[in-house]
Every structure is written in structure tokens, then in C-alpha cells.
């Protein structure tokens, strides 16, 4: 076992990383860690959780109990704090709150996170998502500018639109891998996106289908049934 994400996580905390996404991580005197929503700092009325598995339920719904299919959407629910007794439990809890995000940061630091251009991701789609190969550059850039904006997803997009075309509709800070320095001087583990997610691929399909429906008054042939 050459790689050890748990040890890496411990070393990041020791080096002053205290947050990831909307979560603040506070080392405890007993060697454990407390997690809570960064906007809940100072609150005394939080519901206490002591199992990393509880992070699954906390991550699935926002404050209005609406399902969150995208865990990096800036809609993490408030009102809880979770005590992780060990770095392993911290890792497990973060894998629910922000699936794979600590792992991708480690891969990035190891130089093992090559970004995949959106065109390449769309190019390998089959079944109902094969339609995304017909996405136009302009409509694709516009979609990414909305769907991947910080108001929708807090990841930093590492991938270009194509090998020769960068993303043009997102601000530079949404494309940077650099850890953010917080007001208290601590660092934030960045949420990295090395390849477009299925939610964006599905949105690309919708854009293509909508345009093609508008262009063709005839009912289009049924899509392949695979999804």
C-alpha cells in the first residue's frame, strides 16, 4: 500500500488546512476532529453526530430538505456538528460530504490528475448521451459558464473545453488549483474537478436536444433507450 490518503489528510491538517468546501475542520485536544458548517461557527445549538456514517444523511439534503445530487453545490445544510475520533473517521466523513475531493487533491499534488477536456468526455458517451457530441462550442461554453459557476458548484474546473480551447465563461478563481487562504490565515483544501461530471453531461444533452427540437418541426427519432 504505497498511497495513504489518511496520513496525507493528517499532514494537511498539521500544516494548517482547516476547511474544505463549506466545512470547517477543528482539531480536538483528544486527537479527534470536529466538523461543522463554516457559517455555524460560534453556534451552541448544533445537533451533535459522532459517527462518520452520519455524514451521508447530512450531505444528502439542504436546509429545505431538498435532495442534493451534487455534493459540491454551495447548499450544505446547517445545524449540525460531527466529531470524528480519528483521521480515518475524518476521511470517511469527508468522503460523504465531498466525495473523492481529498483524494483528488492528493492526486493533484502527486501530479496524477490529468484534466480531461470536455470534448473528450462528450466524445466517449454512448446511448442517450451520444447526442452531446453535437454540442456547439458557443452553447457549450455558455452552459459551463452557468452550470459550473460558483453559485452552482464550488469545484475549480481544471479541464479545458477542448484541447485547443480554454473555458471562456468562468472567472479565473474558478479555474485555479491554489488553496485559498482564509481570513484567519488557515488554508482551505480546494475542491478540484478534473473532468466534467454526469450532471454537466446530462445538461449538455438537454442543450443539444432543445436546439434540435427548435430547428426541426418534425418529431425527432426516439433516443436510444440506454441511459
Amino acid at each position: 500500500m504505497k498511497r495513504n490518503l489518511t496520513q496525507a489528510l493528517e499532514s494537511w491538517i498539521a500544516a494548517g488546512f482547516r476547511s474544505i468546501g463549506q466545512i470547517t475542520i477543528t482539531p480536538q485536544s483528544n486527537g479527534g476532529y470536529e466538523l461543522r458548517h463554516a457559517e455555524d461557527l460560534g453556534r451552541e445549538d448544533l445537533h451533535l453526530h459522532t459517527s462518520a456514517d452520519d455524514a451521508r444523511g447530512l450531505s444528502f439534503f439542504d436546509d429545505a430538505n431538498v435532495y442534493r445530487p451534487l455534493k459540491t453545490a454551495p447548499t450544505l445544510r446547517h445545524g449540525w456538528r460531527l466529531l470524528a475520533g480519528t483521521a480515518g473517521e475524518l476521511r470517511a466523513a469527508l468522503d460523504h460530504f465531498y466525495p473523492s475531493m481529498t483524494a483528488l487533491w492528493l492526486s493533484y499534488l502527486e501530479g496524477k490528475l490529468p484534466p480531461v477536456p470536455l470534448r473528450e468526455t462528450l466524445g466517449r458517451q454512448t446511448g442517450m448521451y451520444a447526442a452531446t457530441k453535437r454540442l456547439l462550442d458557443d452553447e457549450g461554453q455558455e452552459l459551463v459558464g452557468k452550470a459550473c459557476a460558483a453559485s452552482a458548484c464550488t469545484k475549480r474546473m481544471l479541464w479545458p473545453f477542448s484541447e485547443n480551447q480554454p473555458l471562456t465563461q468562468l472567472p479565473a478563481e474558478d479555474l485555479s488549483c491554489e488553496p485559498r487562504v482564509m481570513a484567519d490565515g488557515s488554508h482551505q483544501i480546494p475542491l478540484l474537478c478534473h473532468e466534467a461530471c454526469n450532471i454537466l453531461v446530462a445538461a449538455c444533452r438537454e442543450v443539444v436536444k432543445k436546439r434540435e427540437r427548435a430547428q426541426s418541426p418534425q418529431p425527432s427519432a426516439a433516443s436510444p433507450a440506454s441511459h
Partner: protein
Amino acid sequence: MLHKPESALIIVGHGSTVNPDSSAPTFDHAEAILRQGSFGEVHCAFWKEEPSLRQVLHMVDREDVYIVPNFISEGYFTRTVIPRELELTGPLTHRDGRLLKYCEPVGNHERMCELLLKRAAEVAPGVPTKDCSLLIVGHGTNLNDNSAFAAKREVDRIRDTGLYGEVFNTYMEEAPLVNEWDSYTTCPNVVVVPFFIADGLHSYQDIPVLLGIEQDTGLAASQRDIFRQNPYHLRGRTLYYASAIGTEPLFGELILDQAALFDRQHSNATLSA
């Protein structure tokens, strides 16, 4: 019991962007397997949720990795999507110092029949099975590829046991249709088990409406109480409705069995091979 502290297990599910019920059993089975210590690491990965198939391998510390699709049948996902997204080259893939072992989907397991019988017995306790029609509900279009074939195979197996008065496959979108259940069943008691991996929209909402035990209230799937109101008395019969077979806790054992089966079928699979 399988004991592989130096290996990792990835359980692959479909997931959903509209409700959390689709991935819930996959997460449940993963937690149970991790607790019992069969693998050094256990991770989930999904097509429509996170972590995705493109992310999950980054989460794995170990070099020996078993991948078990938590799917009800072989088909488009197990043969096309999962291998493509994980960049698998076959049952065995050597990549970046790792050995990726692609196992058969859970639904292929020969004990599936046993689990269906267990679930049917649990949902209708004390009901004589000889006076019972057992319906195994599948999707029934080519949407899920071989799921209809798999459901038929299980019904044949159940029929061969002779335990139930009668056993039928039934489908949401092709004959014999779920909503016509009272026309082809003859027993006074009817037990319905959805042959699905999770309690998603189909088993919570679509099938109950088709059976006639629920109005389409539009409530979110997780907020409904379909399985706690058994039995239902309608159309002159007594009907018992079970949750999807994939929520059965014994599914975790089947996942482990698929990894063990891989070892038996590929006894020479080592990192140095």
C-alpha cells in the same frame, strides 16, 4: 468469510440525480462490508452520483482492487458504461501499478432466488405459500437490457421449488402487466416483490400506483410509507408489497461472493502477473 485486508472493494451503483433512494442500498452494503472487515477499504461509485466512476480510483489506497457492479443484470451498464468509465480492458486490468478485478454483477448470483423467497416470506408472515401467488416485478423494456431475462430466470427457479401456488413475472411496460395482476393470478393472497436494486421511483411510486394500492400523491419517494401498510385488501384479494430486492441486507454477502467467485475464476491474478 472473505478476508482481504490488503485489497480494496469498489461497489458500483447507478445512482440518481433526483432522489437519494437509488444509491442508499449500495452505501448500506458498503458500510456493512467495511464493518465486518472483509476488505481493507470499501468505496462506492456511481454513474449519476458522486463519487463518479472517473473519481473513485483516486480514493483507493490499495493496489489490489475488486470492482463489483451492484446491478440486477448484465447489460449496457455492466458491459459498456462501467468498463469504459473505469478504463477496464477485461476482467483483469493492470494499470498504474494496480490490479483491477472486474467481477460479475450481483444480480447474476445463484442465491438471488433464495433472497427473493426470503423477502417474500418476510413480507407475508404466516401466509401459507401454497395459497399465494408470487409476482416478481421487472421493468420490462429494453431500458434495462437483460433485466427481464434475469427476472424470468429467477421466476423459473422459484417455480421449480414448488413452494408457491403460482409464480409470475410481471412488468411495468409489457405483458403481463403489473396493473392487470388480478386478471392472471388466482390465489387469495398475492405477494409482490420488485426485482430492482433500490427503492427508487419505480418501487415507491410507479408500481404501487399500478397495483392500485396507492394514489399518485406526488409525494417524494422517501416520504412515503408504502411498505408498512401490508396487507392491502383490494380486488377481492389480500396483497402484500415488498421493498426492492436490492435493499435486502444479505445482498452484501452476494457482493462478497462475487469477489470470491472472481478469485476462483482467475486464480493466477496477481500484480506481478
